[in-house]
């Protein structure tokens, strides 16, 4: 065997208490959730850079819990996307279920966990954007003075200034809480493959309540896998000020305003990502225009 390569030690805490004591002993250890991202990196194995200590979270009981009441659903970080879909397909917001379904085969969704989709290092999946527009919150566990602390935070607050999810060192997302939405507009679309073609892929999530011709509490987030999530309350405010249906000129103005913001955050997005962002945005507007022009069923 190559002398620089040793088999990593696998720690399998059964609860968060055990997790805390392992982190205390091995602060540089690698957290392993579903492993879908780590295992699909080209040089994942053999790797000299892979930390010698791996903390496998698959056996932490608390992280597999799922509960719901009439206001929200709460998932442990190790609940897989497939489990989320099968347990909450009828009650969960459409933007979230659509997002899970775009992942494709259950061979992936059975492995990928909700925690992992948020806290993947150096890569942004399409989920943080969706969770942001859904006003989701996450419980972050972190070590402070040798003790494990916990804090609920909105996903928006986890975004750093570069649009990436940033957790405190040794921080761990333990639970994600998603409120049942009363909004009547839910939209999610992903174009291109985040895993196979990250240079050109783009995803957008949008939620709002369309009341006659105006949007109440709209939220929109664009995600670029190699850059991060582009979310701004300023764009939300622009949407709030619109009256639907929009004509072509208004759509063009809106598009240029959105691009001004996106390009100020991510100047390096590719031309194809730009076209796709524009395409998704226009699909959302078309959808809203159509809804605004349709008489609601209860008024017919």
């Amino acid at each position: 065997m190559y002398k620089g390569l040793s088999s990593p030690n696998i720690h399998t805490p059964k609860n968060l208490g055990e997790y805390a004591s392992i982190v205390l002993h091995y602060p540089m250890s690698t957290l392993w959730g579903g492993g879908t991202f780590i295992m699909t990196r080209p040089d994942a194995y053999p790797s000299k850079t892979m930390n010698a200590e791996i903390i496998y979270l698959g056996e932490v009981e608390e992280l597999h819990r799922f509960q719901r009441n009439d206001r929200f659903a709460e998932f442990g970080a190790m609940v897989t996307l497939d489990e989320i879909l099968s347990t909450g397909k009828t009650v969960l917001p459409k933007a979230l279920t659509d997002n899970i379904q775009t992942i494709g085969s259950r061979l992936i969704t059975r492995k990928a966990t909700i925690g992992g989709t948020i806290a993947t290092k150096g890569f942004t999946t399409s989920f943080p954007g969706t969770l942001i527009v859904l006003d989701a919150t996450a419980e972050v566990r972190y070590m402070k003075k040798k003790r494990l602390h916990s804090r609920w935070m909105q996903i928006t607050r986890l975004l750093d200034r570069n649009g990436r999810i940033s957790l405190p060192s040794n921080g761990l997302i333990s639970r994600v809480r998603i409120a049942f939405s009363e909004k009547n507009c839910h939209y999610f679309n992903e174009i291109g493959s985040f895993m196979l073609d990250p240079e050109n892929a783009v995803a957008a999530a949008f939620t709002a309540t369309l009341d006659q011709d105006i949007l109440i509490n709209p939220r929109i987030a664009f995600t670029y896998p190699l850059h991060g999530v582009c979310y701004s309350r300023d764009i939300d405010s622009i949407f709030s000020s619109l009256r639907f249906p929009l004509d072509d000129e208004e759509v063009d103005t809106l598009e240029s305003m959105i691009f001004t913001f996106i390009e100020s955050s991510f100047p390096d997005i590719t031309p194809l990502q730009r076209t796709r962002t524009s395409g998704i945005m226009r699909q959302i507007i078309d959808d809203l225009n159509e809804k605004a022009l349709t008489v609601p069923a209860e008024e017919r």
């Binding site: 390569l5 088999s7 990593p8 030690n9 696998i10 399998t12 392993w32 492993g35 879908t36 295992m39 699909t40 990196r41 080209p42 040089d43 994942a44 194995y45 053999p46 790797s47 892979m50 791996i54 496998y56 698959g58 379904q101 494709g104 085969s105 259950r106 061979l107 992936i108 059975r110 492995k111 895993m195 196979l196």
Partner: protein, 162 residues
């Protein structure tokens, strides 16, 4: 790291690197380099195995995750009655996968037939992981549906015979 697991019905204790992908374990340690691929994260879908009866991409399963689990590769699955059902479905529809993806596609078909999934969208989504272009979507749907029928018939007949 010592790993206890069951691969193709054999209870084994393997001495392995704890993060070695199952696909490489099967190729290098079990000699199954014909039916299991390893594409270095390209998600070719050609490394499918059944882990505790569920179809998984073996390149995404590290060694430490198979501790205490039962892994079924196509090597042993091909001899089962369930595979015979799938072969009958291929025959009945008149389509079959190419040599390259025969093992993976058959195992995913098994997973779908076992769960009785008939929804075209779900079938195609599940099979979309195999990116070999040898089968078109219509055929895949027909094979799963036919496979479910064949399996049901067999399951009905078996208790009667008993």
């Amino acid at each position: 790291m010592k790993i206890d697991c069951t691969i193709d019905g054999k209870t084994l204790t393997l001495s392995l690197n704890s993060d070695k992908p199952l696909s490489l374990i099967l190729r290098e340690n079990m000699g199954d380099d014909g039916a299991v691929n390893h594409c270095n994260g390209e998600m070719c879908g050609l490394c499918t195995v059944l882990v505790d009866g569920k179809a998984m991409l073996s390149c995404m399963v590290p060694a430490f995750e198979i501790r205490g689990k039962t892994v079924t590769t196509f090597d042993s699955f091909r001899r089962t009655r369930n595979m015979k059902d799938i072969e009958k479905a291929y025959e009945s529809v008149g389509r079959y996968p190419c040599t390259e993806c025969y093992a993976s596609r058959s195992l995913i078909f098994e997973s779908l037939i076992d769960e009785g999934i008939t929804d075209p969208g779900e079938i195609l989504k599940e099979l979309s992981i195999v990116r070999c272009p040898c089968m078109d979507p219509e055929d895949e749907i027909m094979i799963v549906r036919r496979g479910i029928e064949i399996r049901r018939k067999r399951n009905v007949q078996r208790p009667q015979l008993a």
